[in-house]
C-alpha cells in the first residue's frame, strides 16, 4: 500500500504537461478542501450507505435465488438464461430506463446497485451449491432432514465460504457501479462528485474521488475478510 503511494508519487513526478498526473499531495489537498469546504463527507457517507444497502439487498435476494436455482432443476433450466441475460446488461445503458420507470430518487440508485450486486453474487452462489459434496446431503437426508432443513443446515453452512466470496465480488461490483448508479441524477455522492470534477476537468478532485472510492472499498473488504476468517474456521485453508 505504501509502495503503491510511492509509485504513484513517482509517476506524478515523471508525467507532466498535458498528461500530468496529480501528485498524492495534490490529491490529498483536493480531498482536504473537499472535506472542509464542500462537505465531501456527505458525498462519502451517501455513497457508502448506497453501496451497503445495494449490496445488502442484492445479496439478500441473490442467496436464496442462487440456492433455489441450484436446487430445483426445472427452475434452473428456465431462469439460468434469464440470469445471464440480465447480468450482462450494462448499467449505463439501463440508466435512461431507470429514470423513466423508477424516477431519480434514492430508489433508482439503490435499484441499480442492488441489480448489479444481485447478478454478481448469484452466479457464484449458484455454482458453489452445485459443488456441495453429495455425501453430506445424503447424510442429512438419512437423518430425516426436510428440503428446507437440508438447505438451511447443510447446503448453507457448507457454502458459507463461497457466499462470502459472492458478497466480496458483489461489493466490488457495487462500488464499480456507483458512478453509473449516481447518473440517475443524484445530487450528492462520490459518483456525482467525480462526474462534476470530470465535467469541469478538475483532475485533483477527480483523483480524490476515485481514491476515496477505492479506499472505502478496501475498508469494507477488509471487514468482510475478517468476518469470513472467523466463520469458516472449519475449512482447511491451503493458503500458507
Amino acid at each position: 500500500m505504501v509502495l503503491a503511494v510511492v509509485a504513484w508519487w513517482l509517476v506524478s513526478l515523471v508525467m507532466t504537461g498535458a498528461k500530468q498526473v496529480p501528485s498524492p499531495a495534490a490529491t490529498l489537498h483536493a480531498a482536504v478542501v473537499g472535506f472542509t469546504e464542500h462537505d465531501l463527507l456527505l458525498d462519502l457517507r451517501l455513497s457508502v450507505l448506497r453501496v451497503l444497502i445495494g449490496v445488502a439487498i442484492g445479496c439478500a435476494v441473490a442467496v436464496p435465488v442462487g440456492f433455489v436455482l441450484a436446487w430445483y432443476r426445472p427452475l434452473r433450466l428456465m431462469f439460468e438464461p434469464l440470469v445471464s441475460f440480465f447480468r450482462a446488461l450494462p448499467p449505463i445503458a439501463l440508466i435512461p430506463l431507470v429514470i423513466v420507470y423508477l424516477g431519480i430518487g434514492e430508489q433508482a440508485r439503490l435499484s441499480v446497485l442492488s441489480y448489479a450486486a444481485f447478478f454478481a453474487a448469484v452466479v457464484v452462489i449458484y455454482e458453489s451449491v452445485a459443488a456441495v459434496d453429495d455425501i453430506y446431503v445424503r447424510a442429512g437426508r438419512a437423518m430425516g432432514a426436510s428440503g428446507l432443513e437440508l438447505f438451511a443446515r447443510i447446503v448453507v453452512p457448507y457454502t458459507v465460504p463461497q457466499v462470502f466470496v459472492a458478497v466480496r465480488v458483489a461489493l466490488g461490483i457495487a462500488w464499480a457501479t456507483l458512478v453509473a448508479a449516481e447518473l440517475t441524477v443524484a445530487q450528492r455522492g462520490l459518483g456525482t462528485y467525480i462526474q462534476d470534477a470530470a465535467n469541469f476537468s478538475r483532475k485533483p478532485d477527480l483523483f480524490a474521488g476515485i481514491v476515496l472510492i477505492g479506499l472505502s472499498a478496501v475498508v469494507m473488504d477488509r471487514v468482510l475478510v475478517a468476518v469470513m476468517r472467523v466463520s469458516v474456521r472449519w475449512q482447511d485453508r491451503v493458503a500458507r
Binding site: I99, I104, V185, F200, S201
Partner: protein, 327 residues
C-alpha cells in the same frame, strides 16, 4: 489496428474522397448541428479535399471527452461547443476559429401547469441540467440577473438525454437544456413551457470553436490555414443556400439520427455570419469578447481557477489572414 476490430474507415456514403497525398488531419466533433454543419457540408461538397486535406473524423458525445482526447494527442483538432471557452483557457488547446454562435440554443423549461413563470421563482426548486455546458451558463446568467443565488436552487447534474427523461418523468421542477432536446420535452408533454432562453441574455451566448492540440498547432500553421480556407468555402456555400445545405448535411450525417425538421428547428437558435461579417468580428475583437464572456461564466461556475485573456488561447490571426486573402 487489427483487421477484425476495424471500425470502418469512417467514410460515409456521399462524401468526397480525399486525393492521394493529402494532409491527414484527425478531427473530433460533436454530433450537433451548430458544431458539425460546416464540417459535413465540406465533406459533401469536397471543400476539404480541394484544400488537399483528408479529415479523419471521430464523433464524440461530450466536449469533455473531446478535450481529453485533444490534449492526449489522439486528435489534432476538435470542434467544440460551449467548452471552447473553458478547456483552452486551462491551456488545453488553441482556438483558431469559431464555427457559429449559439445564442439561443439553451433554454429553461418548466413542468406543464407549473406555477413557475419566471426565473426568480426557481428559488428553492430543483433544476436539472448538464453542468459545465451551454445550458449551465444560461442558468448562471439567468439566476444572476434575477437576483437568485445559485445555492438557493437545487441544481442536479445529468447527461442531457437523462436530464430530459428525469424532467419528463416529473421528478424535477425545471430543466435547462439545449436544442433539439426542447422537442423531446414537448413530445412527451406539449404542456411544458419555456420560461427563458439564452436569447434573452446577451452574455449567455457561447461560441462554438475549432480548437487545435497545442503541439500540433505549433507545427502545422499551414494546415490550419487550409482548414480555415476550406471552412470559408463551406460557410459561404451554407450562407448562399441555408436550407439546401442543411438538407445535404442531414442526408449524409443525420438521416439515421434525427428528422430533417429537427435540424431545421435547431438552426434557428444559432447565429451564423457571412465570411465578411465574421472577418469584421475577428478584426474588431468581438469574437474574443464572445469567448471571454462565456469564459467568465466558467470561472463563476468553478470550472476555471481564474480568468485568462482570450487572446492568449485564441489566435485570430490565421483566420484573418486567410479570410483577407480569399476576399
Amino acid at each position: 489496428a487489427c483487421g477484425a476490430l476495424d471500425e470502418g474507415s469512417g467514410d460515409t456514403k456521399g462524401t468526397v474522397k480525399a486525393k492521394k497525398g493529402s494532409t491527414v488531419v484527425k478531427v473530433g466533433y460533436l454530433h450537433t448541428i451548430a458544431v458539425d454543419d460546416k464540417l459535413w457540408l465540406g465533406q459533401v461538397a469536397g471543400y476539404w479535399a480541394k484544400q488537399g486535406l483528408d479529415l479523419k473524423l471521430t464523433k464524440f458525445d461530450t466536449g469533455i471527452a473531446e478535450a481529453q482526447a485533444l490534449n492526449a494527442g489522439s486528435i489534432d483538432v476538435a470542434i467544440m461547443g460551449g467548452v471552447t471557452s473553458n478547456f483552452p483557457a486551462q491551456g488545453q488547446g488553441k482556438v483558431f476559429m469559431l464555427n457559429s454562435i449559439e445564442n439561443a440554443t439553451a433554454q429553461i423549461w418548466v413542468q406543464p401547469g407549473s406555477e413557475i413563470t419566471n426565473v426568480k421563482q426557481l428559488k428553492g426548486k430543483k433544476v436539472v441540467t448538464t453542468t459545465g455546458t451551454t445550458a449551465d451558463i444560461l442558468l448562471l446568467r439567468a439566476l444572476t440577473k434575477a437576483g437568485v443565488s445559485r445555492s438557493d436552487v437545487t441544481v442536479v447534474n445529468a447527461a442531457m438525454p437523462d436530464a430530459v427523461q428525469a424532467f419528463n418523468s416529473g421528478s424535477v421542477d425545471a430543466i435547462v437544456l439545449w436544442v433539439p432536446f426542447d422537442l423531446r420535452v414537448k413530445e412527451a408533454d406539449p404542456g411544458a413551457s419555456m420560461i427563458a432562453s439564452a436569447g434573452d441574455y446577451p452574455d449567455a451566448a457561447v461560441g462554438d470553436g475549432w480548437v487545435a492540440n497545442n503541439a500540433w498547432y505549433a507545427k502545422h500553421q499551414a494546415t490550419v490555414k487550409k482548414i480555415v480556407a476550406g471552412w470559408l468555402q463551406s460557410n459561404a456555400a451554407f450562407r448562399k443556400d441555408p436550407s439546401g445545405s442543411l438538407q445535404k448535411v442531414w442526408k449524409v450525417a443525420y438521416s439515421q439520427d434525427a428528422k430533417l425538421s429537427d435540424l431545421q428547428h435547431q438552426v434557428k437558435y444559432q447565429t451564423d455570419y457571412t465570411n465578411a461579417e465574421w472577418l469584421q468580428r475577428y478584426e474588431n475583437g468581438q469574437v474574443l469578447d464572445v469567448v471571454g464572456t462565456a469564459e467568465k461564466a466558467f470561472v463563476a461556475l468553478g470550472g476555471l481557477p481564474s480568468f485568462v485573456e482570450p487572446k492568449t488561447f485564441f489566435d485570430t490571426s490565421l483566420f484573418v489572414d486567410v479570410a483577407k486573402q480569399a476576399s
